[in-house]
């Protein structure tokens, strides 16, 4: 499904990361990682190529370790659905520096466009709110995304959750690094931690 009034994912992610400053960004398995790479490689980018359902928990681990830095997870609806329990875990921890953003195209784009649960009955914003993430919202316009981008920098008012309905068109892949040791060592280095 490609609907004219839905937002274009690369434009959305570029806007989300334009003013990122010291933010650590965790991508979920699939197109969201390509979107983050397309917005520009960065030594604070955590790319995922597997471990489906783990993006929010990876982000939570970083957020608890670095409470003074904004930490943002950008993932897709399918990846979020597989780790839905992690929203309950985030709700319990209430990390104030943490933001979860779901790029919701209502399909599994990597595997042929099969419908996800969000195309049917599931409301992820409602799930997040019910898990105790009080600041849970849908973003529908670029203006809303730009003001949310500023809010993401506030490390005292999270956790927050946003769902952005995006166009389901498959875009050309922008391949981020697949080397986990490189990715994690680079982030640690950016934060001042050396190898063992």
């Amino acid at each position: 499904m490609s609907t004219a009034n839905l937002l274009e994912r690369r434009r959305v992610v570029s806007a989300l990361l334009a003013g990122r400053k010291e933010t650590i960004v965790v991508g979920g398995l699939g197109a969201s990682t390509y979107d983050i790479a397309a917005a520009g490689d960065h030594d604070r980018n955590f790319y995922s190529w597997g471990a489906m359902g783990g993006a929010v928990m990876i982000g939570l681990g970083v957020a608890l370790a670095q409470p003074k830095l904004p930490v943002v997870v950008i993932t897709g609806d399918g990846e979020m659905l597989m780790g839905m329990g992690s929203l309950a875990t985030v709700g319990l921890q209430q990390p104030a520096n943490f933001t979860v953003i779901v790029l919701d195209n209502e399909v599994y784009g990597e595997t042929g466009g099969q419908a996800s649960h969000t195309a049917g009955t599931v409301d992820l914003v409602g799930v997040a709110r019910a898990c105790g993430i009080a600041d849970a919202r849908t973003l529908s316009t670029m203006a809303e995304i730009e003001s949310f981008t500023a809010a993401m920098q506030d490390i005292s008012s999270g956790p927050r959750f946003a769902s952005i309905k995006i166009d389901s068109a498959n875009l050309e892949r922008v391949l981020a690094s697949r080397d986990g040791s490189f990715i994690v060592t680079r982030i640690r280095g950016a934060l001042g931690y050396g190898p063992i």
Binding site: A51, M57, L64, A65, T89, S181, V184, Y193
Partner: protein, 185 residues
């Protein structure tokens, strides 16, 4: 109910065991900061200590695989952690355990065993029987402690190779050590 305090059988220790405190002291010494867990009766004393420690963050999980991912993130952010779970939770972790090979981060898990020593509940036996094999197939070293007197040195060895050598390790805390859970009507 899993609370061992509900049981009054002689299979349980007469007094509070000291090995959970030994484990806690080791975790403190190795500067472990994030402690994700799914509760288990055998871990109850250690979980209480963690909840009372200002330098440690206890993170209750909805499923054990969350803890594997959390510890990968913790390491990226500069902190060490340990995952506490029961043997039945190990099966929930399988795909997420790939992170230990992908990121080569210091992964330590302490697993209380069920289904191997005087078990009452047959549903615990299949996963309890494959716990060590699942870890080994996933590239995780397996150490085991079966007696109170050896817990300290086994956990210390595990923590040493995890945090000094980034060698992912699981310590199985035998059901013999913890005591078979007693089911009463």
């Amino acid at each position: 109910m899993h609370a061992r305090t509900d049981a009054t059988s002689e299979t349980l220790a007469e007094t509070t065991p000291s090995w959970p405190d030994d484990i806690f002291a080791i975790l403190q010494r190795f500067d472990v900061r994030q402690v994700p867990y799914v509760p288990d009766a055998g871990h109850s004393q250690l979980i209480e200590r963690v909840l009372g420690a200002s330098a440690m963050r206890a993170v209750p999980l909805t499923t054990e695989e969350e803890g594997v991912a959390l510890l990968a993130g913790a390491w990226a952010g500069g902190q060490r952690g340990v995952l506490l779970m029961q043997s039945s939770g190990v099966g929930n972790c399988v795909n997420m355990l790939s992170l230990t090979q992908i990121f080569r981060f210091p992964f330590l898990t302490l697993v209380t065993m069920r289904g191997e020593w005087g078990e009452f509940n047959p549903w615990q036996v299949p996963m309890g029987s494959t716990t060590a094999g699942v870890f080994e197939l996933s590239g995780i070293k397996v150490l085991r402690a079966s007696h109170p007197s050896e817990v300290r040195e086994v956990v210390e060895a595990a923590a040493g190779q995890v945090y000094n050598a980034c060698t992912p390790t699981a310590v199985l805390l035998s059901q013999r050590l913890i005591g078979a859970k007693v089911f009463t009507k």
